[in-house]
């Protein structure tokens, strides 16, 4: 079970880290200064979450590792983030849609994790939930502005949904890792979150006058360490300093 907790924490932390990394790319490039601040704020929150989650994961692993080692020194197939968070920032609609799907999921997940039998995980969830609700408010409101804004913004938001929809299924992925933890009361039934998630996102999508595509199959396996081709480049930037200057203090 300890191993399952460790793996689950990596999945959770990697989602935060990689999405935070993507948002950090936008610094100085936002559509208006106020939005630059908002997006960097979210990036900062996500990096903070990743740090907390990895710190706990390292403790659970019990081999003297730390958050930085977990963040920077694993090989690509050892990262377990969902493929959704690797997707490029694209235009502002792509960024917002990716964020919205993610925030809606994480809000539900953290709400359920508040009652985890793992006290540390519950504490992480409580701290992260406040931030995540704020992120969800931001991405929801923007999705509505774009969906129900101009014809161009509507078109771009709709295109983003068509492009990113296929990656959302993986958020609700469960295998033996989650099954074990579910049995121990550490986590909730993640697959079962999907219907509540669908209800919640539909409210916002309706207001945004946007529609969902037909369900497509998608053979993604980020949770198993098999990523899209974007991941290698993300890691090349992320890990560069630690790889070029190994074993040093920063």
């Amino acid at each position: 079970m300890m191993n399952a907790t460790y793996k689950f924490l990596l999945r959770l932390g990697d989602d935060s880290l990689i999405l935070g990394q993507r948002l950090a790319e936008l610094c100085g490039h936002g559509p208006i200064l106020e939005e630059d601040i908002a997006l960097t704020n979210i990036a900062l929150d996500l990096i903070g979450q990743a740090t907390n989650i990895y710190t706990y994961a390292a403790a659970v692993e019990g081999k003297g590792s730390d958050a930085d080692a977990l963040a920077f020194l694993r090989l690509e197939h050892q990262y377990y983030n969902a493929v959704l968070v690797e997707q490029p920032n694209g235009n502002f609609a792509d960024t917002i849609v990716r964020q919205f799907f993610f925030d809606a999921f994480r809000t539900l997940l953290f709400e359920k994790l508040l009652s985890s039998s793992d006290k540390q995980l519950a504490a992480i969830a409580e701290k992260s939930l406040k931030e995540t609700r704020y992120h969800l408010k931001h991405s929801s409101e923007w999705l509505i502005r774009l969906g129900d804004g101009t014809a161009l913004s509507h078109e771009r938001a709709q295109m983003a949904i068509y492009e990113l929809w296929r990656y959302t299924d993986e958020l609700f992925y469960m295998d033996e890792v989650e099954q074990d933890l579910l049995n121990e009361g550490v986590i909730t039934d993640i697959a079962a979150l999907k219907s509540e998630w669908m209800t919640n996102i539909s409210v916002v999508l309706n207001q945004a006058t946007l529609t969902l595509p037909e369900n497509q199959g998608f053979f993604g396996a980020g949770r198993k360490g098999r990523h899209s081709e974007h991941m290698g480049f993300i890691l090349a930037q992320l890990q560069y300093m630690q790889r070029a200057y190994p074993n040093m203090q920063w």
Binding site: I32, L33, E34, I37, H138, E141
Partner: protein, 95 residues
């Protein structure tokens, strides 16, 4: 001037219970929700406030400066002479 510039909002923050709201500056936002969120992001990054008010700058009515010598245009009733606070008739492009 572009027609897509968001309106200007003035921001007031009450930093703790017992104090008044204090004017801290302005920002651009398209609507009230955005103005509040932006105000939180910009003006309370170091937990500098527990209550935020945002007001469209053009809605604030200001008194004349207290200087009793009154050496200024008495018609000034806006917070400051901002070009977007004044509505121009259609057809005027370069004012």
């Amino acid at each position: 001037m572009s027609t897509n510039e968001w309106p200007l909002w003035e921001v007031f923050i009450r930093s703790k219970q017992g104090l008044n709201h204090k004017h801290v500056g302005s920002l651009r936002a398209a609507d009230a929700d955005m103005a509040l969120q932006n105000a939180r992001d910009v003006y309370t990054r170091r937990s500098e406030g527990i209550s935020i008010w945002v007001v469209p700058s053009a809605l604030i009515v200001a008194s004349d400066p207290a200087d009793s010598d009154a050496y200024f245009e008495p018609s000034e009733s806006k917070v400051y002479r901002h070009p977007t606070f004044y509505e121009l008739p259609d057809g005027i492009e370069h004012m």
